[in-house]
Symmetry: C2
Subunit: 341 residues, 2 copies
DNA sequence: ATGAAAGCGCTAACAA
DNA sequence: TTGTTAGCGCTTTCAT
């Protein structure tokens, strides 16, 4: 590693003090023009760059945000990440990113690493396993150490911090309502994410819509498929009930797989079977038929989270109360649902 | 920000020197057992964590790798990122990640930020604009400053550093050969990435395959669609030539859109028209019909790049020659191509 | 067994 | 206008 040039090197070169060099490079009025000029020129020539580590130590600030995301292959999280990145880079923050891979252990290890790495704040969406375990000690510790956290999407009520969530309940309510209004008589809900806070909220929204239309809630139409169950097997049993004419899928994979089975069964979509699904990625858009989606506006969520965190970091003194921002979903109608007239 | 406890705080508490505390926490034999015990206990109680910034300053190492990726919504890059993350976290490195968003300016700014942030190394795949501009000063400077770089996928011959590439030429050769062997008479190549090094290589592979089968190369079958051209318009003109019975798409979006048009034209796939495409994501897998893909093994590429970089970081003294590792592609046959017998 | 001191690279208050 | 000093948090060598 070719040693990088330091203030000291420059100072030695001109037989002046380090402080003089420091001031000269900052164009301080305390320094004579000639001195400034020669020092600045020399610095440029030798590509002087201040050592950020030293500055961080001095300022007790790293201008770095930790981002913990369960899975980057997931469209939604990828979009959120883009949003975070956009704002962070705009405001001059680095992103230290970790993928928890839905694992509690990895999340804890990650948070630990991040804290050691002394960063100014953390943006996180909980790993599935963490939401199952309901153990948030690692995050509570982080908060106690004065490191601000912004949670998004998969949050926990137990933690006192800023949050950005999707209007999951409302989104499910709207989508279900749309299915009903467009003529569906029996809408089933397909969830492979019943472990997640957002999964539970979406179920509530679904139920609320049924109530709203005075349709009795049938527990057997609420299909929760665990990680270790075979999707196709469970799904085929449900689809054996030919009176089901609508599916609300809580995330992409459920829709993709359900669609495959429904097509196998020669249903006409959307006439005999309508499908709506949370998350709006290219996948749903390009399937045949294309699937109507409940967009969560991932990018906007990411941007909002980043703004909130940076705001908190840069005003750490003013202890404002924590807020939870709710980002409204919107329904994107495609071929898999009937139109309303 | 609740101030974190430091060695000094502990030292004051026990009226010992900072050095003593430091040694005690490291279980040094120079310190008496009683002293060690009380200090260690106190440290644990108060959640003492060494300040990494201070250590970084001391060690001139940050255990941090910068990752610059053109676009995280791209399946391939997302997979590579996962691979990098996997190895990095395993070896105790942080990832500072930036999305260049295909912009030269953002890439330069990013590299600049990263260098200021003093990291131990960089993994990068060039932005499209950078490959067009062919201006690599920012990266050359980085190398000159002794910061190792590993480039992957979109590389430049001009830079002397370790590289990980896909066997693009060979992949295109194999895929084209497969199309021909499975009966295609006239295979067109569809590229929206002719700006990229990988795009050019894939064209070469395509040509090589035609040569190999003694099929004349027709330049009009090599369809290069620029960012500002309308895909559908150009594509319809090509497809007007009904003798074309095979498409080699150089990335996902071309395949998705070409498929849509081909379906509109009522072609039978793969009988009348076969399609193969670079990149292996969920999208191609779930389209109807599913598209045969040339997998680039993104995750493996990421892991390889991370290993190479960390190897280089941890053995900076031994100036080993730079190597370029080639990761072989593999063809995943799906419904859009005919089988070979 | 413990501590003093130097130093990593930089800034800022204060002297000269 | 320039320099001295102290300090950010830590490690390590060399006294004591």
């Amino acid at each position: 590693m070719k040693k990088r040039i330091t203030l000291k090197d420059i100072a030695n070169n001109f037989n002046v003090s380090i402080a003089t060099v420091s001031k000269a490079l900052k164009d301080s009025h305390e320094i004579s023009i000639q001195t400034k000029e020669k020092i600045q020129e020399y610095a440029k020539l030798h590509h002087y760059k201040p050592n950020v580590t030293a500055l961080n130590l001095l300022n007790k600030r790293t201008n770095t945000i930790g981002v913990v995301i369960p899975n980057i292959m997931n469209t939604f999280f990828a979009k959120v990440f883009m949003g975070i990145e956009h704002i962070a880079s705009q405001k001059g923050y680095h992103l230290v990113s970790c993928i928890s891979n839905e694992s509690y252990e990895k999340e804890v290890k990650t948070i630990d690493l991040l804290k050691h790495g002394s960063l100014d704040g953390v943006i996180i969406s909980l790993a599935e396993e963490t939401q199952v375990k309901q153990n948030f000690t690692h995050l509570k510790n982080t908060l106690n150490e004065g490191i601000p956290i912004v949670m998004f999407d998969r949050i926990s009520e137990e933690l006192e911090c800023d949050k950005v969530v999707v209007s999951d309940l409302e989104g499910a309510f709207h989508a279900t309502s749309h299915l009903i209004k467009s003529g569906c008589k029996r809408v089933a809900l397909i969830s492979v994410i019943d472990n997640l806070s957002v999964g539970k909220l979406r179920v509530e929204g679904y139920k609320k819509a049924l109530n709203h239309f005075n349709i009795p809630i049938e527990e057997r139409l609420i299909v929760r498929i665990g990680n270790h169950e075979d999707f196709d097997t469970v799904m085929k049993i449900i689809l054996a009930d030919k009176s089901i004419d609508g599916l609300l899928c809580l995330e992409e994979s459920a829709a993709v797989n359900a669609l495959r089975l429904v097509k196998q069964m020669q249903y006409n979509i959307p006439e005999d079977m309508s499908i709506a699904c949370f998350t709006n990625g290219k996948l749903l858009q390009h399937l045949t038929p294309s699937i109507s989606a409940i967009s969560q506006h991932g990018r906007h969520i990411g941007e909002t989270a980043a703004k909130m965190l940076i705001e908190r970091i840069e005003n750490e003194n003013e202890a404002k109360p924590f807020v939870t921002k709710v980002i409204k979903t919107s329904l994107i109608e495609r071929e898999s649902t009937k139109k309303l007239y």
